[in-house]
């Protein structure tokens, strides 16, 4: 969603919203900033390209099979529409703690053309049994494991959970 003073990037995953301020304001002052999942993003329009600088990210894992980034990660993105159904994001990641040199990567977003498919609410908490392992990787609890959260029991409420009748 684009306005002259702000761009909102609304994500299906976890219903996240990235707010990119394009009204020439600076980043949040250091004594008000703290690491968070979306970071603090400011940007400007270079023709049809949205240029975004992001800092104050909370360290995490990029994605599956990918390493971690630190709280010190900052990014510069150049995002533009490159076709009727595709948006390109060219990203430089700077992370003095987790990277030995800046990481340059191109990411694209493709329009979903499945008929009648809606963007749904999408929360990891619906069914998340992932745990961190001793070696810093991840695995999950399976049905029967201690601590396993049965998504059916959760969605149907305590009355439907075994042993709760």
């Amino acid at each position: 969603m684009l306005r002259p003073e702000e761009a909102w990037l609304i994500l299906e995953q976890n219903a996240e919203i990235r707010r990119v301020y394009t009204d020439d304001r600076g980043h949040v002052p250091d004594d008000e900033a703290y690491p968070n999942w979306e970071g603090d993003s400011v940007g400007f329009w270079d023709g049809d390209t949205l240029v975004i600088h992001t800092k104050d990210l909370r360290g995490g894992q990029y994605q599956r099979l990918q390493p971690e980034y630190s709280d010190q990660a900052t990014t510069v993105e150049r995002m533009r529409k490159i076709g009727p159904d595709e948006i390109e994001d060219i990203i430089d990641v700077y992370d003095p703690l987790a990277l030995t040199r800046p990481w340059h990567v191109r990411h694209t977003y493709r329009r979903v053309t499945t008929p009648n498919l809606r963007i749904n609410h999408w929360s990891c908490e619906e069914n998340n049994n992932v745990v961190r392992t001793d070696n810093g990787s991840s695995s999950f609890l399976l049905p029967g494991d201690k601590g396993y959260k049965d998504p059916d029991a959760i969605s149907k409420g305590p009355a439907a959970a075994p042993g709760e009748h």
Partner: protein, 140 residues
């Protein structure tokens, strides 16, 4: 992987071991993508959920006790793009699941496809195998 990252990951692991918290993302490292397994049984549940769907299959064990297998797949949005609907798999159906097995030998895997008794094959990898990742050092 830099030593700093090793220290950061090791530190994080040490901090979180006791609590075993839920993570937003998980790696694919627990699955062995060099192997495929084929497991037949009866569907107990199709958990059509985010972040991942699961097909739970009861498999007769050697001692007569059913073993509960879990097969992880993508969330509903991705499944719908591949034509897999909530009704595509029903509890009580006899199926054979193809999957990449767990490295630790537990009864679970990353689902590739389900074959029903009538020969219908439901592909859970409509766009090919899972992404290989970025192949950056330190991928876990």
């Amino acid at each position: 992987m830099s030593k700093a990252v090793v220290r950061a990951i090791a530190g994080l692991a040490a901090l979180t071991l006791g609590a075993a918290p839920a993570l937003a993302h998980h790696s694919f490292a627990m699955f062995d993508r060099s192997k495929e397994i084929s497991i037949s049984g009866t569907v107990k549940d199709f958990q059509y959920t985010n972040p991942h769907s699961w097909v739970i299959v009861l498999v007769p064990g050697a001692d007569g006790q059913a073993v509960e297998w879990g097969f992880e797949s993508e969330g509903p949005s991705t499944l719908l793009q591949n034509g897999v609907k909530r009704s595509s798999i029903q509890a009580g159906e006899k199926v054979t699941a193809r999957a990449y097995p767990m490295r630790d030998g537990r009864p679970a895997g990353s689902l590739i496809s389900i074959t029903k008794v009538d020969g219908t094959v439901i592909s859970f990898r409509g766009k090919g195998p899972p992404p290989a990742g970025l192949n950056l050092p330190g991928a876990n």
